[in-house]
Amino acid sequence: MRSYLPIARGSYMVGLVYRFGFLFTIVGNVVYLGVAYYLWRSIYSYSDTIRGLTFNETFLYVGLGSAIFILLKTYADWYIHYEIREGIIANYLTKPLDFQLYNLFANLGSLLMNLTAITVPTVLLLTFVFKVKVAFGPGLFLFPISLLLAFLISFSIDYSIGLMGFYSESVWGLSTTKEIIVTVFSGALIPLQFFPAAMQKVLFWLPFQAIYHTPIMMLTKPDQALNVFLPMMAVQLAWAVTLFVAARLFYNQAIKVLRIAGG
């Protein structure tokens, strides 16, 4: 643990170098929130409550979705794939570090960077400019744990896609497909409540909703009973453990095919 924390700190500092970029990301997010506001306002012109959500709840859901999306978007799949393809991975293999834990902590550092630079300003914007109100309830206390589990799931998926670099030249297709499936079926773009009922039943058991829908619901409707939240978290925990272990096994297999040119 002691040797991994400086890695997180390091990647946090690297993030600071790109301060100029954060400005654009925040502007992009403000525009996105504005567009989402108008889109959902027009949808809610038909009725005050759609699929059990009010306009305020849906807008909070979508806004949080974008904030958490940026938080969890660490580009781990691209970096790991790049390091494998270019042979940079050799630098890590010669050190007494675990490759998966190394990447986990490096991503934790970028996550904290995104949290301070982008997510917090977005949430402040939601509360003060768009005047979104958050109710009080047990969900608020479960949220941090749920977010951490969501990070583990998201990381394990990205990490496994990155490991495909052992087998394939380019990761564009895989990464893009993964990103679309995750964003559409996770609630990052549109509340899962809006999907047809049969689809919702299937989506509930998939890991994607555990990344966005579960933590978002804890802030959107925090005043629900614990027996609503606990099964959702159980699904999260099960996926976090399964995917983390699966990624580990995959690495142990994949590392065997690695050949790095000398020189």
Binding site: Y18, F20, G21, F22, L23, F24, T25, V27, G28, V31, Y32, G34, V35, Y38, L39, R41, S42, I43, Y46, S47, I50, R51, S168, E169, S170, W172, G173, L174, S175, T176, T177, E179, I180, I181, T183, V184, L189, I190, F194, F195, P196
Partner: protein
Amino acid sequence: MRSFAEYLRLYVIIEKQYIKARMQYRADFIISSIGMFFSSLATLGVFWVILNSVPSLAGWSLMEMVFIYAFYMIAISPMQILFDHAWQIRFHVQQGSFLKYYFRPLNMMFYYMSEMFDLKGLTQLVVGIALLIYASIQLNLGWTPIRLLLLLMTLFSAALVQISIIVAASCAAFWVLDSYPVLGLAWKLREFSPYPMTIFDGAFRVAFTYVIPIGFVAFYPSQLFLRPEEVSPLIYFSPVIGIGLFALTYWIWTRGVNSYTGTGS
């Protein structure tokens, strides 16, 4: 000064070689095309989910949205296929390899952009055309030669608007080195172009119509074919807007290229 025909001939020769080289990675091409297929349909999926719960989006039915979306997919294809190298400017500028583009007796923007021909973008074009035909049949749109001509004209202008926004954003690299955040913002804006512009008001409506005119990429031109009676007269100026924006972008590019001093190594 070389003639247009000469450039066209050169372009074909360059891309033939490029495609041959890319085809060495056939699996990559297939996976990327699948990725492109899903990613280009994501926003349409969102519209579909929304229209499951409400009867229309600001008065536009699902099939009308499919038409607007198909128009959007076709309009952004030339940018995706022919100008994809714009994303790499930041790497070339940072690493100094951009210098090589100064040393050919060719138009620099032509030479630079010709180095990449995005094959996976063809997926988007094909799906867009198929959806446009499907929606036209479902909506019973009568296509006369004049309307087809209008379609080609508005598509051409829309493509120019989209190309201009992305290329102009990528030019930021000449001044701030890392143009990714600017490009990311431009890319995000692109995704809003199939939205019915009538849902916006105030600053957003003005910005999407006059400042960064993404409204002209899909929604305003589609109105011309779906509901000609509601159309704003502005749409007849779309070629002027498209060509004007491209000229502006070319001017930004020229300034950027002239101010770049290399990496010094």
